[in-house]
């Protein structure tokens, strides 16, 4: 998928600039097609006017590369071009040169000066020399033979001279020129800026994820490659200086060392020496260019280029040798394709430089940022897709784990719940058994022994039975909820005994203040408290002969709850009382409740029972959202 995308992008990217020339040459009929002029006359002369003396000029073939034909020369020469027109001149004609290969040029048509470049366009310190077109009005031409003179200021050291020259209709001239410019000027800029933007995007990714060094170097390389074309436009015009020449080298080759780092990293190659050398060469070239002064560019730059081509070739070879499979294959292939293509472009331009091919060929270096921009884009995309895939995977895993954990928790919860149910059922059972044992059971046993002993006092028997019923009702109460309220419990005991109090002629003085509900009052404690109170009240009803019982519930200064039960009966002697069993039950229950019990009684003085509940009662108070 991503491979197809990459290929399509490459195809479109490269076809766009070419399309115009295809259009111009094949689809539109060219009424006055360009004709190449390959043979011209040349005369080295500094004269400002075209030489009249044709005899001294020599006949030469175009292109005329001074570094080949006039090595070491730096000067001025006049080229003489003869053009035969078979028709009557009409409209506008023109001259086209694919590459402006001189420092300055002036054009004279049939003895009339039509224009010059002056120093404005000196292309010596540019990566891409511009194409040139000259318009020639028909009025300056005539039917038959015409002579066009070109005055050329050139420097053999920079491989200057005169490229092929084409003559034809002005429209055809400008078509050809714009096609060439589009390829190495417009594409140049578009790819350059794209490369810079994507390079920065890659750097941002690297900044967020420092471990991903490859994307970092790739970003730097893309920026380096994009800077050349961008800066070429800004600094390429104007006077050539040593600094500008040095800078041109930096931005021509700046992309290579970072790209090399990418290749090394990708191949997991530990070629530290090579990495350092590739950076060092760039620095050395810069310093050398500055040291050597104006004119250093042509002497240093080609060799730097050659060095880098070699280094890249070695790295690619080393990679194929080691063949690590650390990254997606398509990405590795793409990176090596980009590196290979860049190296090829570089090699092509070096071939121009060293004279292996004609110097009016198109320079391909401007296409390097295109390949690097594409590479960076695909890498970013692949990183994004990888991250997305990883995210999806980890989310799926996470969901799976959450589901597992939820199931576990549910199972645990279920188990605990079951256990709690079993446990609370067991506790409840135990409570009921204990209840029956101390309450109803005891009363029934007593009743049985009374009957067996022959006591037939009906009122005693009825009293005992009544007591048994009360015990049973209290058991019922304790199975219901006291709403965690001590007073509800206390009131319930009173309620159950109200008929007994009434029958015994006892008046109740009930003094209670509202208390907070409390966690402390568990069913177990409720039962003990209930039984304790029952014992106290029963003693008062049966034995005290009192006619008033006061019940007070209050908070003490120590934040405890005090329950006082006082009767005005006859009291008893604690040491010799027949009530011993009942009293010891009361004490036991009080101890179980971790409460303090004070029993204050003596014959003739009434009885007072004071129960101080533990601090925890108020300490574990429940907060009601809606107070009752």
């Amino acid at each position: 998928m991503i491979q197809v995308l990459a290929c399509a992008t490459v195809a479109i990217g490269f076809l766009l600039p070419v399309s115009n020339s295809v259009h111009a040459q094949w689809i539109e009929p060219a009424p006055r097609p360009l004709r190449a002029i390959e043979q011209v006359g040349f005369l080295a002369s500094q004269a400002l006017r075209p030489p009249r003396d044709e005899a001294n000029s020599q006949v030469i073939q175009l292109p005329d590369d001074w570094s080949v034909s006039r090595p070491g020369t730096q000067g001025v020469g006049w080229y003489r071009i003869e053009v035969d027109l078979e028709e009557l001149p009409q409209g506008i004609y023109g001259l086209y040169m694919p590459r402006f290969a001189a420092s300055q040029m002036s054009v004279v048509v049939n003895g009339v000066f039509i224009g010059g470049t002056r120093a404005l366009l000196d292309p010596r310190a540019r990566l891409t020399p511009p194409a040139l077109g000259w318009s020639i009005p028909a009025a300056l031409l005539r039917h038959g033979s015409n002579v066009i003179h070109l005055r050329v200021v050139a420097d053999a050291g920079y491989r200057q001279g005169l490229t092929r020259v084409y003559f034809g209709g002005a429209a055809e001239v400008w078509d050809a020129r714009s096609a060439r410019e589009r390829m190495q000027g417009l594409a140049h800029r578009v790819f350059g800026f794209t490369s810079i933007v994507l390079g920065f995007a890659a750097l941002v990714v690297w900044f967020r994820q420092r471990g991903d060094v490859i994307i970092g170097w790739l970003g730097l390389s893309a920026i380096g490659a994009g800077l050349g074309p961008a800066l070429d436009d800004i600094t390429g015009y104007g006077r050539t200086t040593a600094l500008r020449e040095a800078l041109v080298m930096i931005y021509a080759y700046g992309f290579v060392p970072p790209l090399l780092m990418v290749l090394l990293r990708l191949g997991a190659l530990r070629a530290r020496g090579m990495a350092i050398m590739s950076w060092g060469v760039l620095g050395l070239a810069f310093i050398a260019a500055l040291e050597l002064g104006l004119g250093a560019l042509p002497r240093v730059s080609p060799y730097v280029g050659l060095f880098y081509v070699c280094v890249m070739a070695v790295t690619v070879a080393a990679y194929w040798w080691s063949r690590p499979a650390l990254h997606p294959r398509y990405l590795v292939q793409l990176i090596f394709a980009a590196a290979g293509l860049s190296a090829a472009f570089l090699l092509h331009d070096l071939a121009i430089w060293f004279g292996a091919v004609d110097f009016d060929r198109m320079v391909l270096m401007p296409l390097v940022p295109a390949t690097l921009a594409l590479l960076t884009l695909v890498t970013l995309l692949s990183r994004h897709l990888e991250a997305y895939r990883a995210l999806r995977q980890s989310r799926a895993q996470l969901e799976k784990r959450v589901a597992e954990r939820t199931r576990e928790l549910e199972e645990n919860y279920e188990r605990i719940n079951k256990l709690e149910r079993v446990q609370s059922a067991a506790e409840e059972r135990q409570r009921i058994v204990a209840d029956m044992h101390d309450g109803l059971g005891g009363t029934l046993v007593r009743l049985l022994s009374l009957i067996k002993s022959g006591s037939t006092d009906r009122s005693t028997l009825a009293g005992e039975l009544e007591q048994a019923l009360i015990e049973l009702r209290l058991s019922f109460d304790s199975m219901e909820d006291f709403d965690h309220d001590l007073l509800v419990l206390l009131g319930a005991v009173r309620h159950r005994l109200s008929r007994s109090f009434e029958l015994a002629g006892i008046e109740i003085d009930w003094r209670v203040e509202p208390l907070p509900r409390t966690e402390w009052l568990t069913p177990q404690r409720s039962r003990h408290l209930q039984r304790l109170l029952l014992e106290v009240f029963t003693n008062a009803i049966r034995h005290s002969n009192a006619n008033k019982v006061s019940v007070a519930v209050e908070r003490t200064d120590e934040a405890r709850i005090r329950v006082s039960i006082k009767d005005n009966g006859r009291g008893f002697d604690q040491a010799q009382s027949a009530l011993g069993r009942g009293i010891s039950n009361i004490r036991k229950r009080s101890a179980t409740l971790e409460s303090e019990l004070v029993l204050d009684t003596a014959p003739g003085r009434g009885t007072r029972v004071i129960l101080e509940l533990p601090k925890e009662v108020l300490g574990s108070a429940l907060v009601d959202t809606t107070p009752i």
Binding site: S459, A462, G463, E466, L469, L472, R473, F476, D477, M479, E480, D481, F482, D483, D485, L487, V488, L490, G491, A492, R494, H495, R496, S498, R499, E502, L503, A504, G505, I508, W510, V512, P514, V551, T625, T626, I628
Partner: protein
């Protein structure tokens, strides 16, 4: 027992005795109760029935003032009988016989429409007093039941699922005070004194509260039925 008080302190109205009918399947208890009622000048026995069916049939002919219902009947649940009587004969005060007067039973009976309950076994001779007392304001409420009613009928804390928007059956502030006092163990007389009311007013409040409980439980049943889609 020798200190048993005279139950006729209020002075029973012997000229207009309260007619009482009785539904109890246990013959001995039924006979004992019938005898006690017959002996009480303030009460008149309107009929005794062993089964709910018999009672319902008899009610269609003549309605007593009070119907005593035992919960464990052979042909119909006591609660269903209470519901039926409360729906058809609102003028009858239904009283329930219960052995324990425990919260769950009492609340269920009150919700079904009973006006009060009598504890079995605690002095059958008291029954005339109890019946009159209940007629005037319902049976003595245990603190647990009072607390239950507070929680159940509290205006603000009605459960979200209950149809509390119209507050049909929510307690008034005074009723809440009455119930709160009772839930803290105060007797009716003490509650009246505590709140500065006449004893009769406390009884009247309690009567209202019982009715509200019945209304509330009915509305809730309707609401629940609506929620379950049983009613259209």
């Amino acid at each position: 027992m020798q200190l048993m008080k005279n139950s006729d302190e209020r002075g029973p109205d012997t000229e207009h005795p309260i007619s009482v009918a009785l539904v109890e399947d246990e013959a001995a208890t039924r006979a004992g109760l019938a005898a006690t009622i017959a002996a009480d000048a303030s009460l008149s026995l309107a009929g005794t029935y062993a089964r709910a069916g018999e009672a319902l049939a008899a009610l269609s002919r003549a309605t007593p003032d009070v119907l005593l219902v035992d919960l464990g009947l052979p042909d119909m649940s006591g609660l269903d009988l209470i519901r039926a009587v409360a729906a058809q004969y609102p003028s009858i005060d239904v009283l329930v016989f219960t052995a324990f007067g425990d919260e769950a039973t009492v609340i269920a009976c009150l919700e079904a429409g009973a006006r009060g309950y009598l504890l079995k076994g605690s002095g059958v001779s008291h029954i005339g007093f109890d019946v009159r007392e209940i007629r005037s304001g319902g049976s003595p409420l245990s603190p647990q039941i009072a607390r239950h009613l507070v929680r159940r009928l509290r205006p603000a804390a009605a459960p979200a699922s209950a149809p509390s928007a119209n507050i049909s059956g929510a307690l008034s502030a005074r009723e809440l005070e009455v119930l709160n006092a009772i839930s803290r163990g105060f007797s009716y007389a003490e509650t009246a004194a505590l709140l500065g009311l006449q004893p009769g007013t406390v009884h009247a409040h309690l009567k209202n509260i019982y009715r509200k409980l019945e209304v509330r439980s009915k509305t809730e049943a309707v609401f629940e039925a609506n929620r379950l889609g049983l009613l259209k």
